[in-house]
């Protein structure tokens, strides 16, 4: 599983990170974000690409697990 740290990045950089990682062909990802807008954007994009997303929150930071 590839881990991406997108905490603190401006919109839409977290999604671009995930998009570029997906282009490299991994099957599962974990992505860290720190605001609700990024969480929504990443979730929407991953689901649109046919992945399943689960989210856990701790202290204002979100860990999104993204698997096929």
């Amino acid at each position: 599983m590839k881990t991406l740290d997108a905490r603190g990045l401006s919109c839409p950089e977290p999604v671009v990170l995930l998009r570029n990682a997906m282009a490299a062909g991994e099957q599962a990802y974990q992505i860290l974000v720190d605001n609700p807008a990024s969480r929504e954007n990443v979730t929407r994009y991953a689901e649109h690409q046919g992945y399943h997303v689960t989210c856990t929150e701790q202290d204002g930071e979100y860990t999104l697990s993204i698997v096929k």
């Binding site: 905490r7 603190g8 990045l9 401006s10 919109c11 839409p12 950089e13 999604v15 671009v16 998009r19 570029n20 720190d34 605001n35 609700p36 807008a37 929504e40 929407r44 994009y45 689901e47 649109h48 204002g60």
Partner: protein, 362 residues
């Protein structure tokens, strides 16, 4: 929230925002300018004496409402978060040039939609430039453009910008003699809805934009970059509802709310090339900033001090634009304005390149 629900809520929010924008003109705002973030920040800068263009000086309560609406909703949803430190000075400079681009065109991306909804065909040249500017920004985003991370800041830091808006409101209501106002009949600054109406409109739109993450630049950017249609639905909904409301007002009142033409449009000029280049600069700069001027106001309300810095850059840009004769008028663009827009495109290109291809320096 699932995707269908997100899309429905942004469509509804866009429809409400379009109606509010159209009604603000009915209540006294300048024509095709129910909302214009660039114009309203410029008017506010003028009221504070940061520039002395007598025709455009008034503290616009819509701006105050937008920030406070976003602040209050973020507070209620526990989304308020003090953050900053992602290249604030670069964001300031981008803000300055985005404003110079907007004042070449005479409107921010939001007003560009409202100008289209009022039948102003010059805005089509602006829209074409805006799309090209966004494509330029997307080119760099795809290749790894970033202004690096934001960091958590002390709680007060994230609330100061909202506090400043309250101070502006107090000044407007309680100490107007300290401020500068456009004389009645002296220009767009003299045309405004009553303070309470403007403030309420700003609060509602700020809250809706916070809730839906509405962004004029994000709509086209996400469509190009990810084939994602959520944000552009908001853009389209504003256009359709403002157009419908303008047509109704046109039929029901003696005033003109819709007039399909190039010439004779309110607070607009007919120079297609410079309308195009002005919005190209604005669109390019906004992609590099991560959102349009409206989105920057909303983010600053949520506690993002980088966005607050961008808004201060926008206001400084407005002051420069009027102090150095860069802003267009109904007569057309100025020679100084053309030089500033070309310079702006060069500076924004340089910022994009240096933050895309030289990242190992950090």
């Amino acid at each position: 929230m699932d995707l269908r629900k997100e899309k429905t809520s942004i469509l509804l929010a866009g429809a409400v925002i379009g109606i509010i924008a159209s009604l603000l003109v009915f209540f006294g705002n300048p024509a095709n300018m129910g909302f214009c973030i660039a114009c309203f920040l410029r008017d506010t800068a003028g009221a504070l004496g940061l520039h002395s263009a007598a025709a455009v000086q008034y503290i616009r309560p819509e701006i105050i409402g937008l920030v406070l609406g976003s602040f209050l909703l973020a507070l209620g949803k526990k989304e308020l978060s003090a953050r900053g430190g992602s290249a604030p000075l670069t964001r300031f400079v981008l803000g300055v040039f985005v404003m110079i681009g907007c004042l070449m065109f005479l409107g921010c991306p939001f007003r560009m939609i409202l100008r289209l909804a009022g039948g102003d065909l010059n805005a089509l040249f602006g829209l074409a430039g805006f799309v090209c500017g966004i494509l330029a920004g997307v080119f760099f985003l795809k290749r790894g453009y970033t202004l690096k991370r934001t960091y958590r800041l002390p709680v007060l830091e994230g609330r100061l910008f909202a506090c400043i808006q309250v101070v502006l409101l107090v000044l407007l209501v309680a100490a107007p003699s300290l401020l500068r106002f456009t004389q009645s009949g002296g220009g767009p600054g003299a045309k405004h809805a009553a303070i309470l109406i403007s403030l309420a409109a700003g609060l509602i739109v700020g809250a809706l934009a916070q809730r839906t993450r509405l962004c004029m630049v994000g709509g086209i950017r996400d469509l190009v970059l990810f084939r994602e249609t959520k944000l552009i639905l908001g853009f389209v909904a504003i256009l359709v509802s403002a157009l419908a409301c303008n047509l109704i007002l046109n039929a029901a009142t003696p005033d003109t709310y819709f007039h399909l033409s190039l010439a004779g449009q309110p607070v607009a000029h007919t120079d297609g090339l410079w309308n195009f280049l002005g919005m190209l600069l604005a669109g390019f700069g906004c992609v590099l900033l991560g959102g349009c001027p409206l989105r920057q106001l909303v983010l600053s309300g949520e506690g993002n001090t980088d966005s607050a810095m961008t808004v201060i850059g926008l206001m400084a840009g407005a002051a420069f634009a009027h102090n150095f004769g860069l802003a267009s008028s109904g007569e057309g663009p100025t020679a100084n304005g053309k030089i500033a827009v070309i310079l702006g495109i060069a500076v924004v290109c340089a910022i994009a390149c240096l933050n895309t291809f030289r990242k190992k320096d950090a």
